[in-house]
Symmetry: C2
Subunit: 195 residues, 2 copies
Amino acid sequence: MSDGVLTREQILAAAQDVLRRYGPAKATVVDVARALGVSHGSVYRHFPSKAALREAVTHQWLEQSHAALAVIPDGPAPVRLRAWLSALFTAKRKKVLDDPELFATYTVLVGESSTVIAAHIDELVGQLEEIVAAGVERGELATADARSAARAVFDATARFHDPAHAAEWSDPAIDAQFEAVCDLLISGLVRHARP
Amino acid sequence: MSDGVLTREQILAAAQDVLRRYGPAKATVVDVARALGVSHGSVYRHFPSKAALREAVTHQWLEQSHAALAVIPDGPAPVRLRAWLSALFTAKRKKVLDDPELFATYTVLVGESSTVIAAHIDELVGQLEEIVAAGVERGELATADARSAARAVFDATARFHDPAHAAEWSDPAIDAQFEAVCDLLISGLVRHARP
């Protein structure tokens, strides 16, 4: 492959293949370059270090959970909130069921880069905050601090999106438990009608 | 030590020492017997198998989290609920900070015996259910199903009691996040006054 057409996307795709094949402990930039048929200098032109490349791969993988979340249709905030939480749970569960080995690989990578995971959580909580704030504006939800409430919703649903709980996601009771937690959280945010 | 005075408690204490010293992968019943200066037959008289002994040690360790929970004073359900959740979080966090190695050992043991952990969760959810049901009786809380609500409260606070999250418990923001989740859950259960 000519260096001239080497794109960032091609490197990230090759890096994911290499990580899956050799595991996060053994995969190197030289392996990635070899898989692409280029020199490792060509890879370093796009990513200044092995750590930067790994973080970019991790970031891209985490971003994939967002795709489904960004398209939650407009509507009453309680409905949007549940749809958003459900889409996140579905996306994470699909990832682990589709490719458990790759999921395990990424769990190691995510554990390595605390700044990448912190930015990821910030972005997700930001999406929740937007839904909560819109609900407060429409008089559907009541909370003094939309950001803190959004973070509380995110933390209270950790069992349904944190990879540490992946083993529990095939439990037959998990869907009912997810709905019960959503019910409780939404009930805690809904502005109760006072005649 | 004479076999005649060998008690269940002595065996459990010795087994914990042995597990800590050799690790869960290597510890054997013979090691436990040697630590006590008795034959392994004497240990088997109390516990029919190595698995039974390990489960008993695990059960005892989990039970220690209950001690503080059983003494939550009577009072308004929202106050009791928060005190119970806070006592559980405090007990778990104390365990990991006091002796991280023993905590890691028990995390392995707990992962081995799904029936022991299921019984433990049932017992904890039962305590929550009692608080919720008492609150409904007193007109302080509103829920159609106290058991399901109790389970939802337990699941929604996983980040603050499940050992999978132990690494997050020294985060400076964790206490504020715990209180925010409690606020939200209690707000979801409180019967809202309607004039």
